[in-house]
């Protein structure tokens, strides 16, 4: 049985369908990325999984517990770690006191180890914490009891780049130890670095479910060629060439066709430099959304 099994999950708020017939599974020992812009319904799915809100239709099983079955879900929650998008720690208590409380309920097998990776000032009251410090405290409480499954809503929001790298390494190590991780994000590069599989959600509907590799393959390759003007024209006319961006001595484009055709065409011309790489995940994302999402990279607001 998979740690997370979602079948036809639907949540309506009046006329708004925050989740519309969402189905997917997260396999044991994988890092699953739940991608979508703010307001797409990522947090709604997560809150449904934890039984914070009740589904209008459909259901989900988390570590074997049906979300409709409170007793089973409570039992499962002892083996789940959760990092919400908004961390409402009480402002007047110290980080230490929050962790003590969490430890008293969930256990703290890995607390010391985590405090070395993530370093919030636990002796200080929460009201003095920066967003990044709160996030680190949140990460510690999510992993401190060595859960089987960790669900995280926008885990790296507010973390500085160095801590983000530390987080990515940590997540990969945990996966290798056999932990299952489900994380939501609107930051595509983050998902690309840590996730094995990705589900893309848009306006409450799951639009794609892919291995991260497949997602990158489908998106083609990014080719950057420094060459003559004549070659530039010929390459632009090739089948499978999209998103053409000329620059003074050459051309950059996304190529979705076969390599042989491309190489034959390239061999006819004088090529000074060529770079073949993976396109940024942002570009792949546009493929599913059809247009750039202005909020997808900059927005910090949690979605509904």
């Amino acid at each position: 049985m998979d740690p997370i099994e979602v079948t036809g999950l639907t949540k309506e708020y009046g006329d708004v369908r925050a989740n519309d017939d969402v189905s997917f599974s997260v396999e044991r020992g994988e890092v699953f990325g739940f991608l979508g812009p703010n307001g797409a319904g990522k947090s709604t799915t997560i809150r449904l999984l934890l039984g914070l809100i009740a589904p209008t239709a459909g259901t989900a099983r988390v570590l074997g517990a049906d979300v409709h079955d409170e007793a089973a879900l409570i039992e499962a929650k002892g083996r789940i770690g959760y990092l919400p998008a908004e961390l409402g720690f009480p402002p007047n208590v110290t980080g230490e006191s929050v962790l003590e409380y969490h430890a008293s309920i969930k256990g703290d097998d890995r607390l010391d180890e985590l405090l070395e990776i993530f370093t919030p000032p636990i002796e200080r009251p929460i009201r003095e914490y920066s967003t990044g410090n709160k996030r680190m405290l949140g990460l510690i409480q999510a992993f401190m009891h060595d859960p089987e499954l960790v669900i995280m809503d926008e885990p790296t929001a507010g973390l500085d780049p160095l801590k983000q790298e530390g987080f990515n390494g940590f997540v990969r190590d945990e996966r290798d130890r056999g932990m299952t991780i489900f994380l939501s994000s609107h930051v595509l590069s983050e998902v690309r670095r840590v996730c094995d599989r990705v589900g893309i959600i848009r306006a409450g509907q799951l639009v794609e479910l892919e291995e991260i590799e497949t997602l990158l393959d489908q998106g083609g390759k990014r080719i950057r060629v420094t060459t003559t003007e004549e070659a530039t024209k010929a390459l632009s006319a090739l089948d499978g060439v999209v998103d053409i961006q000329p620059f003074p001595d050459g051309i950059q484009f996304i190529y979705t066709g076969g390599y042989n055709a491309l190489l034959r065409e390239l061999a006819r011309h004088d090529i000074q430099e060529i770079e073949i790489g993976e396109p940024p995940l942002e570009d792949i994302f546009i493929h599913y959304y059809g247009r750039r999402e202005p909020s997808s990279e900059t927005g910090g607001d949690p979605d509904v």
């Binding site: 934890l50 914070l52 009740a54 409170e70 409570i74 929650k77 789940i80 720690f89 007047n92």
Partner: protein
């Protein structure tokens, strides 16, 4: 067991201490004022007031220390002030956690919603017991100091029997807290509700055809002045209050279980 209750209780200690100190100071003032009034025919001052008002503030035998404290401290502070206070604080418990999104984390714990609310309610017994113990001790000592000792058993009873009454106020607050989305609304509605019940009891007590309404108010089941004066009370009243509290707690648990957070 009781991790949440312990954690919440620790956070309530400071508030309980401040509240007890404030009540101690107020009691000191009232008891000093009683010494000043000695010799003044104080009952004449109140003679003009309408009976409903006298009843509302438990005015009875004002010339004795017991009657004076009954009106000035127990009816005013315990019945009204603390009633409103506990309704307010209980009103903020669940609603403020939901509003600040703290509830997301609390509900990720392997404990049921019913237990969470029960433990949060249990933590409110810290201020409830501290205020009664400290307030009672302060009043007893101060009265002794001015040479007007109060019967210790009566004083103990007046505090002991206030607990079921205040528990009902907590229960009203809890129900408001699980229904409202915002703490400010839950707190105001809870305070307003307890205050209206207090007024209703005072006002309809005199009108015979509507006097059944007074039975709806928790204030009807706790009357501190007669307890202080001669130790009269009805155990059935306290039993009714306890049953009402259990009913309100269960109602809040059921409502909380059913709502989206």
């Amino acid at each position: 067991m009781f991790e949440t209750a312990r954690y919440e209780a620790r956070r309530r200690v400071q508030g309980a201490a401040v509240l007890s100190a404030a009540i101690g100071l107020y009691s000191g003032f009232i008891i000093w004022y009683f010494t000043v009034l000695e010799g003044v025919a104080i009952e004449d001052v109140f003679e003009e007031l309408p009976p409903a008002l006298l009843d509302a503030f438990g005015v009875q035998d004002l010339a004795t220390i017991e009657g004076f404290l009954g009106a000035q401290i127990y009816n005013f502070v315990w019945l009204l002030g603390l009633g409103l206070y506990f309704a307010y604080v209980a009103g903020g418990t669940i609603a403020s956690d939901i509003e600040s999104e703290r509830m997301d984390l609390l509900l990720s714990f392997p404990i049921s919603r019913a237990r969470l609310i029960a433990e949060k309610c249990l933590a409110l017994f810290v201020p409830l017991l501290v205020v009664n113990a400290a307030g009672g001790a302060a009043i007893y000592t101060l009265a002794l100091l001015i040479g007007e000792p109060i019967d210790a058993t009566h004083l103990l009873l007046v505090h002991l029997l206030s607990i079921p009454y205040l528990m009902v106020c907590i229960g009203i607050g809890l129900v408001c807290s699980v229904v409202a989305d915002r703490a400010a609304i839950a707190e105001r509605v809870a305070v307003g509700f307890v205050f209206v019940l207090f007024l209703v009891e005072s006002v309809v007590g005199g009108a015979e055809e509507y006097d059944w309404i007074q039975y709806l108010s928790p204030t009807h089941y706790y009357d501190p002045t007669p307890i202080l004066l001669d130790g009269t009370y009805e155990l059935i009243d306290s039993a009714i209050l306890l049953v009402a509290f259990v009913g309100l707690l269960l109602l809040s648990q059921i409502l909380f279980q059913r709502r989206d957070v």
